[in-house]
Symmetry: C2
Subunit: 731 residues, 2 copies
Amino acid sequence: MNPMEHPPIVDRSPLHDFLAPNAIAVIGASPDPTKRGYKAMLGLVKDGFAGEIYPINPKLEHVLGVRAYPDLASLPGPIDLALICTPASTVPTLLRDCGEAGAKGAVILASGFGETGPEGAVLEHEVLAAAREAGVRLIGPNTSGIFNLHHKVNLLALENVRPGDIGIVSQSGNMLLSLALEAQHNGQVGFSTYVGPGNQTDIGFDDYLRYLGEDEKTRVATLYVEGFRDGRRFLDVARAVSAVKPVVVYKAGSTDLGQKAASSHTGALAGSYAMTVDLLRQSGVSVVQYSDEILPVAEGLGLLQQARGKRVAILADGGGQATIASDRLAEAGLELATLRDSTRQQLAEVLLPQASLANPVDVAGSSDANPSILAECMAILADDDDVDSVLLIGMFGGYHLRFAEELLGNEMRGAEAMIELDRRTDKPLVIYSLYAPVKPPALRRLHEAGLPVYHSIEHAVRVVAALGERGAYLHAMASPEWATTVTPHPGHQAVLARAHRERRDLLEPEAKALLGAHGLQVPEEKVVRSIDELGGIAEAFGDRSLAMKVVSKDILHKSDAGGVQLDLNGESALREAYTRILDTCRTHVPAADIEGILVTPMARKGTEVIIGMIRDPVFGPVLMFGLGGIFVEVLEDVAFRAIPLTRQDARSMVSQIKAKKVFEGIRGAVAIDQEALVDLLMKVSSIVSAYPEIESLDLNPVIAYADGYAVVDARIIVDNKASIQPEGDIT
Amino acid sequence: MNPMEHPPIVDRSPLHDFLAPNAIAVIGASPDPTKRGYKAMLGLVKDGFAGEIYPINPKLEHVLGVRAYPDLASLPGPIDLALICTPASTVPTLLRDCGEAGAKGAVILASGFGETGPEGAVLEHEVLAAAREAGVRLIGPNTSGIFNLHHKVNLLALENVRPGDIGIVSQSGNMLLSLALEAQHNGQVGFSTYVGPGNQTDIGFDDYLRYLGEDEKTRVATLYVEGFRDGRRFLDVARAVSAVKPVVVYKAGSTDLGQKAASSHTGALAGSYAMTVDLLRQSGVSVVQYSDEILPVAEGLGLLQQARGKRVAILADGGGQATIASDRLAEAGLELATLRDSTRQQLAEVLLPQASLANPVDVAGSSDANPSILAECMAILADDDDVDSVLLIGMFGGYHLRFAEELLGNEMRGAEAMIELDRRTDKPLVIYSLYAPVKPPALRRLHEAGLPVYHSIEHAVRVVAALGERGAYLHAMASPEWATTVTPHPGHQAVLARAHRERRDLLEPEAKALLGAHGLQVPEEKVVRSIDELGGIAEAFGDRSLAMKVVSKDILHKSDAGGVQLDLNGESALREAYTRILDTCRTHVPAADIEGILVTPMARKGTEVIIGMIRDPVFGPVLMFGLGGIFVEVLEDVAFRAIPLTRQDARSMVSQIKAKKVFEGIRGAVAIDQEALVDLLMKVSSIVSAYPEIESLDLNPVIAYADGYAVVDARIIVDNKASIQPEGDIT
């Protein structure tokens, strides 16, 4: 079993101790309604917090009728949590007092720390040191605060938010406010715990996610993230949590502009957006692309079954909206289910002759006088084994408004039938109604019974897609096939150690030898060190066309330095090329230490792909896969996965490439052996895990064939040293 | 001046005669509330239609208190419009009666025509013939109906829709209903005229758009389109209308699934989505990608100024949402304006020290106790000459709810200042508030004064983008540089005529000669017809490497038939290649009529692009541009424009390509001469306009260089004939 399969999360998160506190001190409690020290008191008092509330203010006897204390030392009993509303400079001293008062956690609202520059960073460091010494964990600084509505801890004093099962961690206070208002407006969604992680000085997203994963009141963990502090640990926690409940992430900074905006907002180190999204998805996270989809997707994932597959049945009472839904489904990578004959027959029995029984099913007026027929059709569709989810599109809930008031009873019966169906089927029923903004009775009833109703076709389809992705993830993780553990070879470890000592990368033949030793398909090759060896070489390779490449630690860009000669036939051509390579390389890089010349048969033509590995400062070892050349460089059409991989990960890397049609053979070209590439990715994952000395790795190009592949060039960079380039080298 | 610049729309649309009628007959008027014949009567009576209402029902004396008539012949006066609620089969006879009753138009609700199959198509044909004979124009059949709210003609009896300035033509009745409910919910948007074009048997989208363009009550024309009947005419009308008011189109069928769904819904012929979108944008249409953006974009375009450029200033009271907005801006191709120093200084004077004065401007608490400061900042930003539009992001309108009730007055003053700013500036102010769903007083005030407030950052940014695109379009069309008119050359017309007679394409040398005659850069080349000519040829081309290609009307795929030999040096190589080409071609295509062998110098290496022209059955002559090879075939990274082009069109074709970085030179390659490609596109446009005999054209590849380009291969297909391929040819 791979160590990544079960991240080592066995203890209960320490965050429970203060996110569900028994006694809270509000440091800087105030009677001024514009102050946070008032708001927090108001939230606690108004919501009826059952534990002890200790306002701290040396100038006041009471705040909002609660007895105030001059300082923490004067408190009559211990506290679990302190809310610090005072300025940044007061925090280090206060933290020491907090520790003495028994606090396990402190929420620091003040800004003016690392996010403002070097001076603030020093203060932030001091704060962290004080907290460690005092044994107090920190939320923030620079946070909008927290709430735990089920525990009546509403330190933001948000009004009109209902306790519910969506947990939120958001680096933007406005985003929390926006979600709360949307939920209030929606009327059915509620929240469990909210945390603003602020600068993540002590506690990071990983810790908060772990807490939400354990919190019984939280059914969906929802995160707005500008940057991760420890991305690798977050991935591990996400994998563990997403096995038991959905994790929804909106990652800010999808573009350079956004990244720039985010970095001026918080100090977090942000990896590339595309990579972050790939790694989050690999760990079971539902990544939301647009901010206005966060709540709909969280609600849907919390309430509805995940889907077993991508085959969607659309039931519509109008062709136009069915078309829109079909477009969005296809864009999201979903499919229209092909309905079974028996399903069509059953539909034909309940619908009018003009109904369209192909998917999308258009009832074409059949429901006008009998809207509950839609529930019957949904049941027929859900019972089709070739259907994974059912999407209802149209005006359900509003028939009595549009056609005749008498239809209300019929609609209510339809709603009950849908609720009944939802209880008995294991497939998601996703409902869009154009009457959703009006909240008619049948839709209110559905909502009450746990069936969300969306008022945007786009959002409804995003929910269908998220349920499908979650189903596919859980299915794949039910029996993951991890990259095997390989034992590092002492000889190659020695080569790596030597390169490290010599502060250089592996030479191409060294890299290929290492890869070949672990089963990668590398071409036959020989390194010659004198022109006299060429006669024997030409003979050894028979009549094949050959390529020659300079081998030198000092020449990274071989072609640019004139270090590559191709399509060579016969000894005299080899000799001529040998001399030419040495001459031009010595002209380009006079100080180059040339190890020899590599001779290898010309690779057969095929499809060029690139496989790379980097150790990302946030996410650790990450594998990259893409098509060669312009596809990687211009179109950035690449897939990333954290190492180690499962076979499912490797397969999804290959199938994720937008230009993947190339793999299937275009313009009469043959299809390549995709499973061989999958094996290759798995082996690279194993090698990287076995050799921590490998800092990064670049197989470029790998040529893929109908039968296997060839690693034509390979570069392995050792440790963390920068590549040393002698002056005069061209790059 | 190009004839396309002012489409020949001089008369007033005949649709005014019956879309603003004085007398209406409702054929099939009914007292049954579930019938459309009841709904229409209800709509007319309830809304207080001021003209004559004639219910037609032989079984009733009155319908809804209005005197009924047994048939049209019994009416006491003439009608302008008939609403036909009776079944399909009754329609032809009724149309004749309508004509006699003076009707200029008829709305046919019934389905059961062409959309159901061949039998229905026959009936539809019959209906059209009857209408023509009777002099009656047709709306539908298979339509949801019409309304003209300012004229109190509400034949759908929609409740709670406000008269306003958004005109709608929608092939989906549910989409209209959805927009109406959204508008009702939004509370500020209203509609002028709605038409469901149904099968477009007589009147198509082009006619309706022309009507909306002329209609004084309509400020924005909004269309949901599944398919155009006469796309070319629509483009012409769109160009004329978009010069005076915004045209918003949602085109269904963006994917194969959606196209399939749409085609089962109506019978319309739908071109490729990507092409349709490009052509609509070329004609000034604002194309909306998601259905839930239709109303927000229409509202914004109707109320706000278009932007002069892409430089957006974001003003936010929270960093997170500014980041989201920045991401969406960049995705939409917009830019964050670089603020002038004077702007920053002015902002610094009103904001707290911790505010971020770079764009996005984050007031960082400065507005908490004084929200109207946001209006001051908006004015400062709007006055910056390097800012084209201002986007306010955050909680404006809700400060008094979140912080202190006393702030309400301050917020109202802020709203007035924003309204004042909107009146004096020529830049759009786009406002997102997370409090929009709550509709607090300041936001209601903004809305009343014509400043929309969005409750989705995504929608707000789409509006900013649409205003920018409209501004850019109007700017470009203020001084369009049309492709010049060229005079066809009699010699080449004769060649085309001969190819037409012989039912073949132009031979490659014929095609290149035609193109070269009109100034395209085609390589020097000679056609040899006997091996003995090769000596002179080799000499003529000096020591350049040469390529040879078979010339035969029977061999389309020259490479596949062995008809191409490259990199030939010297006479003996030419002779050998000549023989090899003839031998292999005769093996592959025994019956091929071989005209000769084309000899030409090998083209220099460069960047391969493709230029094609097709005569689309819906949109007429369309030019396509893309990068060569895989980019066109796999990634479909191409741009389309209707011919004739303006220079701005040609430039935007080149800059639209996703892989356009390639043109700028990557991996050390030189940048290509993009303006030469622009010239080339303009010349191809001119040639296509001059030679209507050219059915399609394919320049593939064109090799682009730092200095000019070379048309390396060219194919011109004549007329409408299918290419005749002899048996045995491989393709």
